[in-house]
Symmetry: C2
Subunit: 187 residues, 2 copies
């Protein structure tokens, strides 16, 4: 899905509006394992993934990485909170593959938000969608067995489960790598 398609799937922008908006994005290509944001930095850009994939993660006190979210093709990748509030990010943002991204800075988003009422609507709808997804993961984590969480993961991110290291998925699901390995094999 292109960025343009993504935008109009939420709000009916006119062609002129779309052109104006798209002009503010910069196409960038990043290599696998590239870090877009580090913990503690303010997330100055948000990225639409045209090709590739990414994840957000943080480090526990013991130094272990915990995957917080996966981002596939055709979605915005960010530390949403950090970006929209311009506050320090709790998370790292990492490309999990060589990726093609469309980047936009906070300043430019602000300008667009002020200029286009529809842009505010777009971001609002996007936020509500993210909220619903995080709430749904929360329910899965909170009240499902390891097995059920694995199935939930496969339905939510069908393509991702065999494209990233096991450990990333395990920490996303709140279980150890060993448990995930066992589940996968007893399937």
């Amino acid at each position: 899905m292109t960025l343009e398609d993504f935008l109009i799937s939420y709000v009916s922008f006119s062609q002129e509006e779309l052109n104006d908006i798209l002009e503010n994005f910069t196409k960038i290509e990043v290599a696998k394992n590239h870090l877009l944001i580090k913990e503690g930095q303010v997330c100055k850009n948000i990225y639409f993934i045209e090709e590739g994939m990414g994840r957000s993660y943080y480090l526990k006190k013991d130094g272990k990485e915990v995957t917080q979210w996966f981002f596939g093709e055709g979605v915005f990748m960010s530390s949403a909170d950090s970006f929209f509030k311009q506050s320090p990010s709790y998370y790292y943002l990492e490309a999990l593959d060589d990726s093609v991204l469309y980047s936009i800075s906070y300043g430019k988003i602000e300008t667009l938000l002020a200029k286009y009422h529809k842009m505010e609507t777009f971001v609002r709808l996007l936020s509500i969608d993210m909220l619903a997804k995080v709430a749904s993961k929360l329910n899965a984590i909170q009240f499902q067995t390891a097995r059920e969480r694995y199935d939930y993961m496969n339905s939510e991110f069908p393509d991702i489960s065999y494209r990233v290291p096991l450990g990333h998925i395990a920490s996303y699901l709140g279980m150890t790598q060993e448990t995930l390995s066992r589940i996968r094999h007893q399937a």
Copy 2:
């Protein structure tokens, strides 16, 4: 905190705008245990809590109630997803005390969103805040012990923990009532 104070804490509405916006809210009083929304219904209104408190919950297949969120004084109470997308709610919305609420319908919010660019901004900021809170609960649930989650709860909802039945809090925290009782007493 009054609704007016709440609104201007997010966006600098003018006094005329505020008056116009506030006119669209209806003050209602509900008794303890009143259900504002049932599962499967579309959430037609959103409620600002001036006095009292509430929670959202759902029923597991085995019929047990699971508290999804608590709402204290000075916040909006809703099944956000259901309200903003006008889709069936997964949750029940219940008053936990006799409460004074300011209610607004989806239709009226839509009108205000269309009329005031600032209103879109307000809802967007509100959504991002909710997102951050849900994400923070997710982290607590996913990687903390029962004990740590209890402490998290006390910092997030300091006043609530002794005002509602233990079972509501336990299910909110993803543990059994017995476990919470033990934790509380070993404190």
